[in-house]
């Protein structure tokens, strides 16, 4: 039996940029191959972009994809129903992004019995998953913490706006940031409160935090929607320029806000590219290649200095990232 997967620390892993080098070019896909993608929700741009990645690569290779999502984030049984339906309908491979670490577990078992390839794609981790494609969640927070350490050498007070209580990505991102920045010794995390992925709640929380700590130097938010809410709170408090705000995900609004000089930065995990890599992984597995258990996808801290590099067409971004990975 497989050990329960921890995607952030699994040793049997490969960086996405190494796939071609180690396993050769993509094998051709058989005609009429049907692949299913099940994501958390479509109400968040991140997941829609992931689906675009699936479709763009599949389109190039003549593979058909069905991309579905639960009706809302947190609809665990609804997502299970969708995934089970795909097993029933005879899809050959499934790309699953589960709501929680456990809710799609039965699908793993049914798929195994039916000989269907399953790839767990970001961000909740099914412990029994044989294959996982995604970024290192912890690393999101670590990158932002390192930005503070480098750019605010004198240290200061920082605050964290967390995602939904108990969700893997939220827990890992928060922990990565907090641990790294506290180990530096010069920073103090004065608040770490839930924003529940919600703009309004994050706005209210940030207002309250700023009022109590007018000397705060920055926020780290577990996703971009919350970060954009915090940006407004910072503006309303008249502290723009004094308080930096970081998000996570790299949604297009975050880029716009960075370009406008409002949001300080975000950790982009390149959902379109991630989708392509996930699709590639599924096809390689389907073709019988023995890939490592985890395929790590790229992420990068985006700020006003570098955001232009990452704004081009997917191919260009891919090239930029490949170059960065080669260094």
């Amino acid at each position: 039996d497989l050990a329960p997967l921890n995607s952030d620390s699994e040793p049997d892993r490969i960086d996405w940029s190494q796939l071609d080098k180690k396993f050769g070019p993509m094998p051709a896909a058989p005609a009429g191959l049907k692949i299913g993608g099940v994501s958390k929700t479509l109400t968040n741009e991140y997941w829609r972009s992931l689906g675009e990645g699936y479709k763009s690569l599949a389109g190039k290779l003549g593979v058909s994809v069905a991309y579905q999502a639960a009706q809302s984030e947190g609809d665990q049984l609804g997502q299970l129903t969708i995934a089970e339906g795909m097993v029933t309908q005879g899809y050959k491979a499934l790309l699953l992004s589960p709501q929680t670490d456990a809710n799609l577990q039965p699908v793993m078992e049914q798929a195994k019995a039916a000989g269907i390839t399953v790839v767990n794609v970001n961000d909740a981790v099914i412990p029994q998953a044989e294959h996982y494609v995604g970024n290192v969640q912890r690393d999101n927070g670590v990158r932002v913490a390192n930005w503070f350490i480098k750019n605010r050498p004198e240290g200061g007070k920082v605050a964290i706006i967390e995602g939904q209580a108990g969700v893997y990505a939220a827990v890992q991102r928060t922990a990565g940031f907090k641990k790294t920045i506290e180990e530096n010794g010069k920073f103090k995390v004065v608040a770490s409160v839930p924003g529940n992925w919600d703009r309004q709640l994050s706005y209210d929380a940030a207002t309250t935090i700023l009022q109590k700590n007018p000397d705060l130097i920055g926020f780290y938010c577990n996703n971009d929607g919350m970060a954009l809410g915090v940006v407004e709170a910072v503006k309303a408090a008249g502290l723009q320029g004094k308080v930096v705000v970081f998000g996570t995900d790299g949604i297009s609004d975050a880029y716009k806000s960075i370009a406008a000089g409002e949001l300080t930065g975000t950790v982009d995990s390149f959902p379109v590219l991630t989708g392509e890599v996930a699709m590639e992984t599924a096809l390689r597995l389907y073709a019988g290649q023995k890939l490592p258990r985890v395929v790590a996808t790229p992420q990068a801290l985006i700020t006003a200095e570098n955001y232009k590099q990452y704004q081009g067409k997917p191919e260009d971004v891919r090239a930029v990232l490949l170059k960065a990975a080669a260094n």
């Binding site: 969708i82 929680t100 670490d101 456990a102």
Partner: protein, 324 residues
């Protein structure tokens, strides 16, 4: 005077058969939905998929049966999801720490009963409104589950426990069989026992029930305890299937359960509701999800369809049953 006679006779048959006119309305709604999906999604009517629908509806049906009893008593239980979560994480912890399966199972059900008991006591003795009490415990129980586990899932539920819920009898999944048994028990409770009459009476006219000597507080408490136990049972079915218990399990379950009861004819004013109707309501919701997925309908349109079908189901019901 002749009016009086016809009026006297017409309602009589409804008593003999368990399946009322109201339930027939729900059944017609279900058949229409089945008909539509059968045409639009070729795989829909395969026996494998039908069993699938039953299995997928079983958790909601289990919750909705408890919810129906609570609704009949004139209350509502918004805390079923978090109750399920608390009981799931505790059962799983017990199992993982090596406690024998039957003890862990009973332990989990007792936790569910305790959650229900707290709701019931606050409602029956402190005299608070059910909606608000269970809104408060919705947050409280969820917090308990999260704090207990530190937010982490409890993994490694042993195979012996899972087998209990994942096996099947003559091709019918165990979970479906269990819910069927629960349904029969609920039906007996409602139709044959004094408690069933008390629930109807308390929901139908609390003052009259009080004056008649019905133990109002006990009746209400019983409803919430049963709802808690069934939420716990639903969570067992789920962790049996998933092999893990998460503290965030059961999110939004209350809305599905209420929708199933209401589609099945329960009135949130109390005093009205049926076991058969509730089962049909749960199957309507389950088959809708299943069918929309088979048709590969995009999430936003699935949401739209969910909303519209709830409205249409209620309207079909209204028409088949007439006003009132």
């Amino acid at each position: 005077m002749s009016d009086t006679n016809t009026a006297t006779k017409s309602p009589a048959p409804s008593r003999a058969i368990a399946f009322s006119v109201r339930d027939a309305g729900t059944l017609i709604g279900l058949l229409i939905i089945f008909g539509i999906f059968a045409v639009l999604a070729p795989d829909f009517l395969t026996s494998r998929n039908l069993i699938n629908i039953l299995q997928q509806s079983s958790i909601n049906a289990c919750l909705a049966l408890g919810m129906t009893l609570v609704i009949i008593s004139g209350g509502i239980d918004l805390s079923v999801g978090p109750t399920a979560a608390v009981s799931a994480v505790i059962t799983a912890t017990l199992l993982v720490s090596g406690v024998p399966v039957p003890i862990a199972l009973v332990g989990g059900l007792v936790i569910g009963a305790l959650c229900g008991l707290v709701n019931g006591l606050l409602i029956a003795y402190a005299g608070l409104q059910p909606f608000i009490v269970t809104l408060g415990t919705l947050s409280t129980y969820r917090a308990v589950a999260l704090i207990y586990t530190g937010g982490n899932p409890v993994l490694g539920v042993p195979q012996s426990f899972r087998a209990l819920f994942n096996g099947s009898v003559a091709g019918i999944p165990n979970s479906v069989v269990m819910v069927a048994i629960v349904a029969v028990l609920a039906w007996v409770l409602l139709r044959k026992t004094p408690l069933g009459e008390y629930l109807m009476a308390v929901g139908g006219n609390e003052e009259a029930a009080y004056v008649a000597g019905v133990p109002i507080a006990l009746t209400k408490i019983a409803a919430y305890v049963i709802s808690g136990v069934l939420a716990a049972l639903a969570s067992m079915i789920l962790i049996g299937r998933l092999g893990a218990a998460e503290p965030i399990l059961g999110n939004l379950w209350e809305l599905d359960a209420i929708a199933a009861s209401a589609i099945g004819g329960a009135s949130l004013m109390g005093g009205k509701g049926s076991v058969a109707g509730t089962l049909l309501g749960a199957i309507i919701l389950g088959s809708m999800r299943n069918g929309l997925t088979l048709m590969n309908v995009q999430a936003f349109y699935q949401l739209l369809a969910t909303g519209l079908i709830i409205l249409v189901a209620m309207m079909i019901d209204r028409v088949t049953r007439g006003r009132g």
